[in-house]
Subunit: 247 residues, 4 copies
């Protein structure tokens, strides 16, 4: 982890760990050299806290060139697909790497292949992965390629992957990848548009137990005086389809 | 894993792995002896599939003597708390063991202590854990005790736990446990009642970055003819509070 | 109003007003002859209340041969379309008459034309309207016809209607009716399927300020001990599109 | 109605009807003198539309010194309470008059009494009512008073009102008003805080069929390319309690 969270009065910043000082409009604050769990610093009457960011707060602050997959969706995608440390995984597109960080935090012994055709996105994802894990994990391979291309191939055997994750505008164009999924393996398809999900489900063959859902996260203001939902909520991120390869 | 999923025509059963046959109203079906990913059996014009259940489908079918924590909440509780394989964890109450299965699927090297005062619940949880993991994992300790009791103690050092999970009707009565949480550690408090969350937040001292939210999972019917949300949805499971110990 | 509500212990029945008795599993209860606002009757230790049903509770209990439009949607459809007592209105299909009862409760001086091709549906709607209003209001005309038929015509002038309400599986096939809508008039299109809404919006020409939304009603259990959402909620009824004719 | 809507490219303004011109960053546009349903004006390549605002769009743009009650809630409050043109009504507090406009658009023959202790709020509400109805309707009476005051009285008989509407921070302090409600009459209590609803329900005596709910309005982006919920939605306005006076 190359980052550190600074928390003060309900606000949060995620900054480089090797920064010496953090500038606020009250002046510059020295960042503690060593952080044992959490460090607190009083500065001009305010309390500043320093600690290693959790995965969900990290994901909300990653660099992005694309819409990211939100922590609630990363949590449920990895959990509902029963992602395991020994799984072999294919993910496409890499995007800004939000889901990939979630995957890599679980898959330690299996191998993960992530495919993206946009080099700018990949650079951002690489940076985000490095920031979170300190370096690119050895079991992660970035492939630069266009999964819509009929001739696109990965240098692995068929039925290699335990899980495949799609975050593609037109997922049906990448159906060729499904030969790499094991019989009994899980496919997750994420898309902001329900119509794209529908078109994909219509074209999907040989999968069972297909479920489509969306998750709404509703934050509440709770303190001594109040207990009520926050006025503005994120009303939509994406739809999630999960299915199991049957043949 | 001592269980197997049988899937046919959108319906699903989770049965003992060592069962030889499964009885349907069409007659008895032989369960395949060995399942390599997924097995398919044609029986009187229907396709039956057999495979190892995923964690979320398993949780929905566990034995229960209590309200369970639903998969969507288990997913987000473990993810938002950045639960890691090396974490030391305290959980109370054990209940039917739904969250505990989620915790044990991640924590492989740390130690997990789960506390429950109701022996019936514990028995059910033990059975569920055994069914999922094949046996009770060695890094899991069940404690029979009443965390509301002022004299309740665990035989560990203070600031031992990286994460503490509460699923208690009156969580404020278990505040004594918070001394076992590390500085910088994460506390999750789950409760079906927002007023219980509010009372707990009011009494909580020394925690920062307290967030309260609920998750709504909305299933959609998607097939060739339809793309619409399911008529009846689970409108409520529980509220989740997450905070970080600051001192 | 030909109906009466009987309420006891949180349960509710809507029965014919001229019934003399109401049979329960405790025995038969005499229904009061005259009800002044509300009447209460003690019967074997329970309190039974009798009163004229409100419109929303009536709608939930109407006879139905179709999916009904739910009270929340009737409320918002009539309100967001600024329906007035003097408006001229076209509605199709009549269905079970749920939206129609909402319309007729507001439109007292304008005229309402409702069109349905299914005679069974119309009979049910007629019965429901009679039950609610005591008789068919004089300003309401039922037309038996197929609005998908290109030759379908109503014997009114073009630009006659202030408001048009569609509840049709394939609303784009009824676009011919839109010539009857005044310039500046409001069109509401209700549909359980978002894809049908999309197709209609794509084909709609000459309308501005088109809004699409859905309403979720989340019931809460609130009493001395509890304040939490009800476990099971209706997760979906339909999508509502509203637009204004611009030319 | 003293206002007019101007619509252009998905944006909307509500301005004084007697304005001659409307200034945009393209220059000043002449507002048509007479508007027959809807008028269209081409101006520097854009289409501007002019028409009388609907009630829901008007409510979203009223002057406000308080949180307003949103159109979705006004729609359902008036509908679920079966508000009729002949009803006698008490409403408190008046606030900015949003719910009051909804009430007055239905109650034409009954009398409406609205009570507010804050004179600034009342002035704003009077202005909003005048803007919508052209003048203060003759069946509407504004009372300046504090309904929390034990000695507060209205110069009407007990059991005069068919409906009573509360929008008060501490509604239990205004229980004295409930003597003015008819037996069988409807009470609506609106509050952003569920805990205030709970406290009121606990203290409420002699009411049956008490329902508490909240409404979520989820807007969708629908056009040729897209069909998906809007990213940001209003996640909360208020909780609504409805009950019927039983004695």
């Amino acid at each position: 982890m190359k980052k550190i969270t600074i928390f003060c009065d309900g606000k949060k910043w995620i900054v480089d760990k090797n920064l010496k000082t953090f500038s606020t409009h009250f002046g510059n604050i020295d960042i503690p050299e060593k952080i044992d769990g959490i460090e607190k610093l009083e500065f001009k009457g305010r309390s500043f806290y320093f600690y290693q960011p959790g995965i969900s707060e990290f994901l909300l602050k990653i660099k992005r060139k694309t819409q990211i997959i939100y922590p609630k969706d990363v949590a449920v995608i990895t959990f509902y697909s029963s992602l395991k440390e020994t799984d072999n995984v294919i993910e496409t597109g890499t995007g800004s790497g939000s889901l990939l960080i979630g995957i890599m935090s679980i898959v330690k012994k299996g191998k993960v292949i992530t495919i993206e055709r946009n080099e700018d996105f990949r650079e951002v994802a690489v940076k985000n992965i490095e920031n979170y894990f300190g370096k690119i994990p050895e079991n992660l391979e970035f492939i630069n390629g266009d999964v819509y291309d009929e001739n696109f191939k990965i240098d692995i055997e068929e039925e290699w992957a335990d899980k495949i994750f799609f975050d593609l505008p037109e997922p049906w164009k990448a159906k060729g990848l499904l030969k790499y999924l094991k019989k009994g393996g899980i496919l997750v398809n994420y898309n902001p548009q329900i119509i794209q999900i529908k078109k994909f489900v219509e074209e999907l063959d040989g999968f069972i137990d297909i479920n489509v859902f969306e998750l709404l996260e509703r934050r509440w203001l709770v303190d001594e005086k109040r207990a009520r939902p926050v006025d503005l909520m994120r009303g939509h991120t994406g739809f999630i389809m999960i299915g199991r390869k049957a043949k």
